[in-house]
Amino acid sequence: MAQSVSLELRRTKAAPRLRGLADNYRLLGAALLVLILAVWETVTRLGLIDPLILPAPTAIAAAALKVFVQTREIYPHLWVSFQEGLLGFGLAVVVGVPLGLVLGRSRLFRALFEPYVMALYSTPQVAFFPLLIIALGIGLWSKVALVFFGAVFSILINTQAGVINTDRRMIEMARSFTASELTIFRKVILPASVPFIIAGMRLGLGRALIMVFVAELFSATEGIGYMIVRAGALFDTPKLFVGVLVMTLAGVLISEGMKRLEHRLVPWLSIREEETR
């Protein structure tokens, strides 16, 4: 009797300490960030690292203040990059999803076109850029086209995989209820493919972001990528960092946004994951 009581006491003593730690993870994370920034600031102030290579956080903050509030020069750059990304990615979705569905559905189309798709996908898309400039000029559209090429294959290939991977038993079940081919496509194959399509879009988004930057690297007079390159050329490293951080932030926000979208479009997927945990 006495033994079981002492075991219980031991358990309750340990428990609150562990629980307290778990609640503190956020606090610990924030503390770590502050620590990193403090060390960073000190190291550059002491001149241990050349501020040309790694400016102090305060210098970066000052540069950010300048471009966002004082000169407001960053906004046109943001707008241009945003346009390139949105148009290029939007076109990739509008073209990639239907083509992916067709290729998934039709063995004939797959046999005819898959080799070309794989060839284009395997080529580093950046290699197309000079050709795109010749065709579309050095303005917005050659960059939109490059972003499009960067994203479209991920979307197409993943959509196709979604269609092909639809469980045959679900299709047969639908057939047993006398569903037509069209009904089967609308009510079974398409919904089943949505997780794949979203996965393809996430991958495509990542590549689109890279392509925005690369396109501006090559030839641009506007855009965040351009701002970064020009700041580098002028050795204005704080401004360079501001540009890079803006792109990082954009990437993170988009990624979060896609996660939220996925949770809304495919609630059943996360429910299933919860259950198996």
Binding site: R169, E172, M173, A174, R175, F177, A192
Partner: protein, 280 residues
């Protein structure tokens, strides 16, 4: 020669779809062999003939691979046999139709639909107006005892509950013929027994014609009016055994202990054991 399956029932069905009579007429089926290995075609079924009067609950048992599932799919119209015909109330089966419904071993629920939406699927595909789909679906959900779970996703349901959704989906279309392919095969023993009892209760209510495939001899004897025993591949009918146990079966206290039950079990077991000897 057509195997006659007697009907043990004389009660008329309540209003609703009139239960179907099924006649399987000299059905044979071959699957093409693997093209890569230039293999010979696989003879799944050889000259199967069975006559099923309306309102009969027929179970089909047989060794693994004897073609039971293929036969069921042929009756449903999902597979066109290489020889022979299936007649339902005198009309030949040429493809899937609205007057029959199938319950699959894995329920095959659409994971992105809630229970209610899944049960509505059958009628939706038939083109019924939405209000009617929903009303019939709710009715069927109540009949299988899943009230309160309409908004759950399949991922949140247990195996037994998923099977009940599959059953509700089939029932909501008011089929004249119900085809069930080892629906309780993937369930644990206790859930399985509970589901058998529920199925018996449901069947008593409208006594549809049911063709039921199972590996469990006990299940076959418990549920059916007639048990059809098949041979190993290529599957043919070994024997047709009418089950003369009183209905309603779920009222009997532990029917499985009844000596008549044991005798049927013994007979069927003996037949299956024979079938397991290699014949070719």
């Amino acid at each position: 020669m057509v195997a006659q399956v007697g009907s043990a029932l004389s009660q008329p069905a309540p209003d609703g779809a009139r239960p179907a009579a099924v006649r399987i007429d000299n059905v044979s089926h071959e699957f093409p062999g693997s093209r890569q290995r230039n293999a010979l075609p696989i003879r799944a079924l050889a000259d199967v003939s069975v006559d099923v009067p309306p309102q009969t609950f027929v179970s089909i048992v047989g060794p693994s691979g004897c073609g039971k599932t293929t036969l069921l799919r042929i009756v449903d119209g999902l597979v066109i046999p290489t020889a022979g015909t299936v007649w339902i109330d005198g009309a030949p089966v040429t493809g899937p139709a609205r007057d029959r419904a199938m319950v699959f071993q894995d329920a095959d629920l659409l994971p992105w639909r809630t229970t209610l939406a899944n049960v509505m699927f059958g009628l939706e595909v038939h083109g019924a107006p939405r209000a009617r789909c929903e009303a019939k679906a709710r009715e069927a959900i109540a009949r299988v005892g899943l009230e309160g779970f309409e908004q759950h996703y399949p991922g949140q349901l247990s195996g037994g509950m998923r099977q009940r959704v599959g059953l509700a989906r089939a029932l909501s279309t008011d089929p004249r013929l119900l085809l069930m392919d080892e629906p309780f095969g993937a369930l644990d023993a206790q859930t399985r027994e509970a589901m058998q009892e529920e199925l018996l209760r449901l069947w008593e209510q409208d006594q549809k014609t049911v063709v039921f495939i199972t590996h469990s001899i006990d299940e076959a004897v418990l549920l059916s009016d007639v048990v059809v025993v098949m041979t190993a591949r290529p599957g043919t009918i070994r024997e047709v055994i009418p089950i003369e146990l009183p209905r309603p079966r779920w009222r009997e206290e532990d029917l499985r202990g009844d000596p008549r039950f044991a005798e049927y079990r013994r007979r069927i077991n003996a037949l299956l054991h024979e079938s397991r000897q290699p014949t070719e």
